[in-house]
Amino acid sequence: MCSISKNNLGVYGENLACKYLEAKGYVILQRNFRCRRYGEIDIIASKAGVLSFIEVKARASQRYGKPAEAVTLAKQRKIYRCAEYYLQRAGLISCIPVLSFDVVEVIIKGGVGVQLLHYPHCF
């Protein structure tokens, strides 16, 4: 496994995250749900009645801090807006289920392997 460019790193990370979640029993509903005004949500998944909006952050080095810290307040608000839009489109806005906003960190250690951490209910 080797990452060729930044873009691929991100996609690679997302794929890895999806595999991990499916193994955990999550049903992946949407990937890269985009809305022009509100940005994008990496993965929308559901498990046991809980609807999860997951942001995947893949990093090759820890130089610039933990990947989870890259999800700033501004990014969180964007994800909220996008999630609201999704709920609207899915017709769930009048009866909102239990929501969970998660972060999945994918840390790629060169030569050693990959570390994947899932932080549920994190913001």
Binding site: I96, V98, L99, S100, F123
Partner: protein, 506 residues
């Protein structure tokens, strides 16, 4: 999931019950705090979040709405942190709602889950009891105030976890033992009238002021003992009754000036603001009404040293508190009435250099300067001060004199006797001392025989006294008669009252 918890805030000097409602529902994570919270209350959100997390309790990452009812009352202070946290814990189904009924929670939370001290706890406990609550939980640092009110169980806790464990019946807290407020408390004043040498006129005048609650202005050269005497006035006032002591303790609790060791304040307050004090600091105010110096000296003494140096407009504001015994403050954020039944003591120099009328020093002021200086204390304010006396300089002989003057204890006994007479006389009218008498009471209780009447008339005409002076002289004379144990006011009492009022030559 919905929860209701009782909390308290302060309104003026009283507590006010607040119903904290917490609602947790599905939706985008959000925390709304509604119900007109002031800034410190708005910041509760952050404190509650951190305190819950650091106490290892879950903080719901979902839509939270907290309402502070009644919704149109502005909530002040940080004491609502604790009930908000408890409400959220109840919504998270960690605490059951039934466990919270009839209980009031007060406390500020620090980020690690400790409960910090809050101002005004005494008023809150009183109000909680009034509303029928059976138990109240307060910060450990406020424990001293919790021992005073009977009829309600007061629990203290140092951390949020302690309270939750108590509510889950895992580790129960013990309510505070009650103290009998007035028993076994020795009031120790550090000053005594025996310290003052000479100044017999002033001692007599202050005794009368203490007995009848009269205001007094002392005029004298620098260093003749005006401040020293004023400070000792509190030592000859009768001891406070339980309700008076509770009132004073409430006021000091609200402004956060209550010491942690003494539960109840038994010494009458003595306040001596600097003459640069502003109107708001003196009367009370600020954007949310806060008690001022006149309220901080309620049931005690307010001492204005260097009276001519005070801003004239500020002094004019003293009119209402002096006459009505309370001060009404209107601000954008509310109208409040604070009690202010005080004895006003004022001190002044006779002229800018201070030596006018002195037997040894020659006064070095020009007449115009003297007039300007005297004019600073306006007629209307002077008229409202019951007694105005001159203090002579203290001779060396007096200072070296080994025999001490009368001690405060001795003087106080006479004062207490005179006050008892006034209490019996004025209780049906809801008053405590002669100075509070209005026109009708003066007519009823200060009737004079012919001889005394003649003396008063003579002085009235010679000195061109006003009608207000007339009534005030009668009230002071009534106090003098009470001190002497006389049923009726004698001519000698009138004469003394007149000299005490006008000896400064105005």
């Amino acid at each position: 999931m919905f929860a209701q918890v009782l909390g308290q805030t302060t309104k003026g000097i009283d507590g006010e019950m607040i119903l904290v409602e917490a609602d947790v529902s599905n939706g985008l994570p959000n925390f709304d705090l509604v119900g007109l919270p002031a800034m410190a209350v708005r910041e509760s959100k952050e404190r509650v979040k951190a305190a819950l997390r650091n106490s290892d309790y879950p903080f719901p990452m979902t839509k939270i709405t907290v309402n502070l009812a009644p919704a149109d009352l502005r909530k002040e202070g940080s004491g609502l942190d604790l009930p908000i946290a408890i409400g959220l814990l109840c919504c998270a189904r960690i605490i059951k709602q039934e466990k919270l009924n009839g209980k009031v929670f007060v406390g500020e939370l620090s980020l690690d889950g400790c409960i910090r001290k809050v101002s005004g706890v005494l008023s809150m406990i009183i109000d909680a009891k009034r509303c029928g609550a059976k138990e109240i939980f307060i910060p450990q640092a406020n424990a001293a105030e919790g021992k005073l009110i009977h009829g309600i169980d007061v629990y203290t806790a140092a951390t949020l976890t302690e309270i939750v464990e108590h509510l889950l019946d895992n580790k129960k807290l013990i309510p505070l033992p009650k103290e009998n407020i007035m028993q076994n408390k020795q009031r120790i004043y550090h000053v005594d009238f025996a310290d003052v040498k000479g100044q017999l006129v002033a001692r007599r005048a202050l005794e009368i002021a203490a007995a009848g609650g009269h205001s007094i202005l002392m005029v004298g050269a620098p260093g003749c003992g005006k401040t020293m005497l004023a400070r000792r006035l509190v030592t000859i006032l009768p001891p406070m009754t339980e309700s008076e002591a509770l009132e004073v303790t409430k006021i000091y609790s609200i402004v956060g000036m209550l010491s942690q060791t003494d539960s109840i304040m038994l010494e009458r307050p003595f306040r001596s603001p600097h003459h640069s004090v502003s109107g708001s600091a003196l009367l009370g105010g600020g954007s949310t009404p806060r008690p001022g110096e006149v309220t901080l000296s309620h049931n005690g003494v307010l001492f204005l040293d260097e009276l001519p140096e005070f801003d004239r407009a500020t002094l004019e504001m003293l009119r209402q508190p002096l006459e009505d015994g309370e001060v009404s403050i209107s601000r954008v954020r509310g109208n409040m009435t604070f009690p202010s039944r005080i004895i006003l003591v004022a001190a002044a120099n006779p002229c800018p250099c201070g030596f006018l009328g002195d037997s040894r020093h020659i006064c070095s002021c020009k007449q115009r300067d003297i007039d300007n200086y005297r004019r600073k204390i306006s007629g209307p304010l002077l008229d409202r001060i019951d007694m105005q006396i001159n203090l002579a300089r203290v001779e060396f002989g007096d200072l070296k004199n080994k025999t001490a003057g009368e001690s405060s204890d001795v003087i106080r006994q006479r004062v207490v006797k005179a006050r008892e007479i006034q209490q019996r006389r004025l209780e049906p009218w809801g008053m405590h001392c002669n100075a509070q008498m209005g026109r009708s009471e003066v007519v009823k209780y200060c009737s004079l025989d012919d001889k005394a009447q003649a003396v008063l008339e003579k002085y009235f005409n010679i000195l061109n006294l006003s009608a207000r002076s007339h009534d005030r002289i009668l009230k002071v004379a009534r106090t003098i008669a009470d001190l002497a144990g006389c049923e009726n006011i004698q001519a000698s009492h009138i004469a003394e009252a007149v000299t005490l009022r006008t000896s400064t030559g105005r």
